[in-house]
Amino acid sequence: MNMGGLESDLEDLYRRRQDAFQVMLASVTGSVESARDVVQEAFAQALRDQNGFRGDGSLEAWVWRIAFRVAVRSKGSHELAVDEVPEVAFLDESRDPMLAAAVRELPRQRRMAIFLRYFADLSYAEIGEVLGIAEGTVSPTLSKAHRQLSAALTSNEVMA
């Protein structure tokens, strides 16, 4: 791996995607300010630990995994296990309480998949890499999440 090239790729990734990183990670850390710090630190870690990127997956997915570990650590929580998915939640649930309630009911992995899809705008392959599941499993995971959300929203919104 050409380290100069990887540094340049990381910078390019940062410049293109740091907004998405912040938005997504704020749902883990609880604030945009702390999410920004997490993004800064995650990319710094990636720069330092370039040997950790083996090149057999996407660079972005690798940085996401670093970022989630940093985000969880920044909250003082325990270290994430390899296959563990962090908790995510909306920052301001009052802006769409029905969606927030529906999302809260999702199992943790489905919830994360939905956030990665809509907040991080990741492809199925990247979601699979971040979650540590096969790409073929992402589609059914998202489908189940969609069905559950759709049912909950329809029911709640009809009742409302």
Partner: protein, 407 residues
């Protein structure tokens, strides 16, 4: 879930997405570098540290390390991706090539960048035939936004920044400038090439008068024209009637000026992607600096150097220099009456750094730190101005830009 439902859900998520804050790649690089050198305790507790302000006055700026290390011991380029004031950090890669042919220089009042939107900014730009465009921006109001002026040195000054146009981009600017000058031929003044276009005297009638609501309320540009420079000034009546009693601009002139304004104050928006080689902003790093001393009343060079710390005087004594006497009212002191002399010594950047270190015991000139590295050498005597020493970068055309706040 249908596509419609998918889009609806995406829209609801988008409405709940928080507003991200400005990023700063230099901070990432600095963190990476600091942790390489830092203690494990610091690395583990980074979120407890106070957020560092990376925009500093002198040369302590973040570095971006680019380029490939092709072998052990290979030399890497150190590119600064943020403006600075004073001397660049050790090892920073100088702008290349060292010299360049000037195509146009511009100083103008420009609309402020978001989020200020109040007052007006001052933007200077120098375009060279090799494609380099060097510019600085000074906001009317201090920029208190997150991260300061984008890529800037501090909240009052971007520092000198550099981008690089492709030949197509240079030609687009050159053509636009030529068109403006052609349309304003009766108002164009020929000045000596060594004269700063915004300095010296000018005929008050040789100015293009623009409407009060024009994008630029005041400005000047100059393009080399044989062994002279063609200079065009513009301003609105509201700026200063005595200076701008020139000719009201025609719609064609306004259109041409608006085009040049866009190309030189916001080239990223005004030029197509094919017009660029390097759009990413980097600091302009000179190979040489001018170390200038201004003192009044005028003294010879030996007397002037004797006012400096011995080591600084020794470093400058045998270097090439220029000198110019001037009225105090046109110098950096702005005091009425009297004469002063300015000596400027040409030194390579490492030598400039040595001189700066030798001067570090002197008092920094209050209020000007954001624009120029300047020390007060001696207090004013007999109603004159203080003796000061400051550092200017040499630009590719062999001139210094004059970094004073008023300049």
């Amino acid at each position: 879930m249908t596509t419609y439902e998918d889009n609806l859900l995406a829209a609801r998520f988008a409405a709940l997405a928080p507003e991200p804050l400005a990023g700063n790649w230099a901070d990432v690089v600095a963190r990476a570098g600091a942790a390489r050198k830092g203690s494990p305790e610091l690395r583990g507790a980074w979120w407890l540290r106070r957020r560092r302000r990376l925009v500093v006055v002198l040369a302590v700026v973040a570095l971006v390390v680019v380029g490939a290390a092709t072998a052990i011991g290979a030399v890497r380029e150190l590119i600064l991706d943020q403006g600075f004031v004073g001397i660049p950090p050790v090892g920073a890669t100088p702008s290349s090539p060292e010299s360049g042919e000037l195509v146009v220089q511009w100083l103008g009042v420009a609309a402020p960048l978001s989020p200020q939107q109040v007052g007006a900014d001052s933007v200077s730009a120098w375009l060279y035939a090799d494609g380099r465009i060097i510019w600085d921006r000074r906001p009317w109001h201090p920029w208190h936004g997150e991260g300061g002026i984008p890529d800037g040195a501090n909240e009052l000054n971007s520092g000198y920044l550099e981008q690089r146009l492709a030949p197509e981009g240079v030609e687009l600017v050159r053509t636009a400038v030529a068109e403006l000058l052609d349309q304003s031929r009766a108002l164009v003044e020929e000045i000596p090439t060594e004269e700063r276009p915004w300095g010296g005297s000018h005929h008050p009638r040789l100015a293009l008068v623009v409407p009060d609501d024009f994008v630029s309320g005041w400005g000047v540009l100059a393009a080399p024209d044989g062994d002279r420079s063609a200079r065009l000034l513009w301003g609105n009546y509201g700026t200063d009637n005595s200076v701008f009693e020139g000719t009201p601009a025609t719609p064609e002139q306004l259109s041409a000026l608006r085009r040049v304004y866009a190309l030189l104050t916001d080239p990223a928006s005004a030029l197509p992607s094919s017009a660029w080689i390097v759009q990413k902003v980097r600091a302009y790093v000179p190979s040489h600096h001018a170390v200038c001393i201004d003192t009044s009343p005028p003294k010879d060079v030996s007397q002037t150097l004797s006012m400096l710390p011995t080591r600084a005087a020794g470093l400058l004594r045998d270097t090439s220099r220029t000198s110019s006497e001037h009225d105090l009212s046109s110098g950096p002191g702005w005091a009425p009456g009297g004469r002063a002399v300015t000596y400027c010594f040409t030194v390579e950047t490492p030598q400039a750094r040595e001189v700066a270190e030798a001067l570090s015991g002197l008092e920094r000139e209050p209020g000007w730190d954001s624009f120029v590295l300047v020390y007060r050498v001696a207090e004013a005597v007999d109603g004159m101005t203080p003796t000061r020493i400051w550092f200017e970068p040499y630009f590719p055309d062999g001139r210094i830009p004059n970094s004073w706040p008023a300049g």
